[in-house]
Symmetry: C2
Subunit: 475 residues, 2 copies
């Protein structure tokens, strides 16, 4: 069935939508998962897709979905492929649906604070257009220059200003998607509704498995009247967590509040950090009088907690460099495998998770680095963002060591009651651990929803949802 599909699609959609040349096929084989890069380097990289379809309209997407369904050919949807968990991986019998050219701005509404975009719109481009009107999306993933607004929704992304602005589920107003039967759903029409379950949440975090997201309307903000900064040294993580907990539970909402352990403080804030101490940086935003009140309250609390003052250039330095995305290849070429892993937990569990994960990572042979910072704070808890680096003497061990590090992080987090995925999603990397978060009943409910909306497994097979017992896992 699949052999003639590229030709049929090209006839229907045009040669400028359907691509079969090796260069395009090669370039779209995977996302930014470090393991995909390692596999490339080791000569066992992901195969080329059957073809690449690059729609420029929602009608193109509908036509592609219908043609693929009729041909029994699965679709791997892809935004800008900045995901880091293997949510995009090509397959020779599947169409790679590249949404990067579905990238119009549909409208920016300064009165209602709404910005409507095609799903493939690059995040930073959307933000710049909105900023030209004195507004902001307020969503700043590190990947903003290389990720799409549709990808933010598909993966349940977080931004660096989340402590005040919320995560993508708090920012998205409307989601448009094409379902497996070729119908188009538009979920979310008003500021708030109580009209049954919120259908946006079928798509938020679905990682391309339940629908092809084609359009996203975001609730914008006016650019803040004032911005100010605070920075402190922290004698130890426990003291820092108590400061963070006290500040947010008292009702203050600095959009940025990041605590780095001593290792990362030395590495990322060398000019400001004290030996063996962590560092904590905050950005305050909002009406000027509120920002002034927050800075005063923050400083008073910091003194009570015994934190030490740091030049706020630590914060502005971070602001200037915060969207730099690591180049895996620079490490891999040196036979070092690195990654980051984000988890979340309640306040009373986060310290134990930190200790358990770091201790476990340090048992990995030839580990070069095991460290963490927290970057998303809630009144009930916060995230931790672990970094690890390993350089095995035997380079052939890189893959095994990498997966071992991940297993250690996931298991130690789950053992202590945390969630194994804060904001990068599940993809293939964490798929077989999903039950640790959702429980067996939750995974089964997700499978039931998948069967209901995509009975033929048309959309992104092998991602997110673990295979049921007795069924082989898809690659």
């Amino acid at each position: 069935m699949s052999a003639s599909l590229p030709t049929d699609l090209a006839r229907q959609l045009g040669d400028d939508v359907v691509y079969n040349d090796a260069e395009v096929l090669d370039a779209h084989r995977h996302d930014y998962w470090v393991l995909a890069h390692l596999d490339d380097l080791e000569g066992r990289g992901a195969p080329r897709p059957l073809c690449v379809v690059r729609p420029r309209t929602v009608d193109h997407v509908v036509a592609c979905v219908n043609a693929c369904r009729n041909a029994g050919v699965a679709i791997v949807p892809a935004g800008l492929r900045s995901g880091v968990c293997g949510g995009v991986e090509a397959h020779p019998e599947r169409v790679l649906l590249d949404l990067s050219s579905l990238d119009r701005t549909r409208g920016i509404d300064s009165h209602n604070l709404l910005g409507a975009f095609d799903a493939g719109k690059r995040g930073i481009d959307a933000e710049r257009e909105v900023e030209a009107r004195g507004l902001t999306i307020g969503h700043w993933p590190q990947s903003i220059a290389v990720s799409s607004v549709g990808g933010w929704v598909a993966t349940r992304a977080s931004g660096q200003f989340s402590t005040a602005n919320g995560n993508i589920e708090d920012i998205v107003h409307t989601i448009e998607a094409v379902l497996a039967d070729g119908s188009t759903i538009t979920a979310g029409k008003a500021p708030r509704a109580a009209a049954g379950p919120d259908l946006r949440h079928l798509l938020l975090g679905s990682e391309g498995t339940l629908g092809i997201i084609t359009g996203v309307t975001l609730a914008l903000r006016r650019k803040a009247e004032a911005q100010d900064y605070s920075a402190y040294t922290v004698p130890n993580l426990t003291t820092g967590f108590e400061f963070q907990r006290e500040l947010v539970q008292s009702g203050w909402t600095p959009p940025v509040m990041r605590q780095y352990d001593a290792v990362e403080a030395q590495r990322s804030f060398a000019a400001h950090a004290k030996p063996d101490a962590g560092i904590l940086i905050l950005v305050h935003e909002g009406p000027a009088t509120r920002v002034a009140a927050e800075v005063t309250a923050t400083d008073a609390l910091a003194r009570r907690c015994g934190l030490g003052g740091v030049d706020t250039r630590a914060v502005t330095d971070w602001l200037d460099h915060r969207n730099t995305v690591p180049h895996w290849r620079a490490f891999l070429d040196k036979r070092i495998v690195v990654d980051t892993a984000e988890i979340s937990a309640s306040w009373d569990r986060i310290g134990a998770i930190y200790d358990a994960v770091i201790a476990s990572l340090n048992e990995v042979p030839e580990i070069l680095n095991a460290s963490a910072h927290s970057s998303h704070v809630y009144r009930t808890g916060l995230n931790l963002y672990f970094s690890f680096a390993v350089r095995p003497r035997d380079a052939a061990e890189m893959r095994v060591r990498y997966l071992d590090c991940w297993r250690r992080i996931v298991m130690a987090t789950a053992d202590h009651g945390g969630s194994i995925a804060h904001h990068h999603g599940i993809g293939r990397l964490r798929r077989d651990y999903l039950e640790l978060d959702l429980g067996a009943t939750g995974v089964e409910a997700l499978r039931a929803v998948k069967r209901a909306l995509d009975p033929n497994d048309l959309f992104n097979p092998g991602v997110l949802i673990p295979a049921a017992a007795g069924h082989p896992a898809d690659a």
Copy 2:
């Protein structure tokens, strides 16, 4: 199959869990929908259920679900039956599952700000227990004295302090529910996760159709350090809306911001209102210095917008009386049928919706009142809460007039792009209008999810989900 079920259930669960006496059956026939009360008055009230099952443990719920599924008998789940849209209506062949005795406090955690309750816990009781520890749930539906925490989740409730504290979906941390196959799901385990679609949203707003909610963990707040008030007269709604929009879009978040039209201002704030003018009341809460900054900014904006000052006793009077629930029977006995209808829309549409709804209601013969206030404000728009009262000369016309008023409110709202349900849910009242909010594809997706999770229509048939074309609507 159903005849022996009450006896079987009583044998299994005990006589103190399964009730068959007329008094209990009569008392559980319906929720607080005004039409159910009218039907009672007119002698065609809802029938008695097959039996009332009053579980005190989650195991009781599981046993009841399994027994009913095996017997092919549907379940009508009920919390404290304060819903106003007909979400609970007994049926002689269905079990009424009364969750009011599943009402333990499972734990209150002041460190992580989490309060865990059985689903049947009365809202005000949960709030008082939390307050005794210096905390608050911060969720204040008008019904707090007569509604349950599980009901809040099942209906996607809003509270009066929502503009800062969010609605129930922003407050709920974990939802435990029994699914139709008898399995128990626990959705939501950490402050935030990106582990697939957020399964809590299968239950939030599901109105008993997708699972029986048995437990709810809420994210609490510390009691605010300071509370202050503002109150103004408003020359017209447009000016008031502009003030509200400017205040929230500037980044201020008073938890309460309520604007009443001139009719309601005269009725509810007689001591403070000016003739032909509306009234706007605000509550500010939070750290003292932030509250002071917010009050100053609010007052300055009010002056710029030409609002007039009002004694803040208007606010404290409202705070003292805000949880009074109207007694339908007091009106119905006078042959007056009354109700409220809450909708939401973006800022640029709300004025047109107000005008269209009020004009349309005023065309209804023998209308006594058509008025509105707004009570939940977002940066992209706000809600309107319409009130109407009709006294037909021919009392037999009350039902027809009631449904006509509702039709007018829903259609005028949808015609102008608003959502037809802000926070009371859908029930039976708005079921056949649901497509106006979700679209045909959205309703079909909801039906698919229902079939996936509850293939035998075991849970609350006839509620929320409209019958598919060609299928008879369930009563």
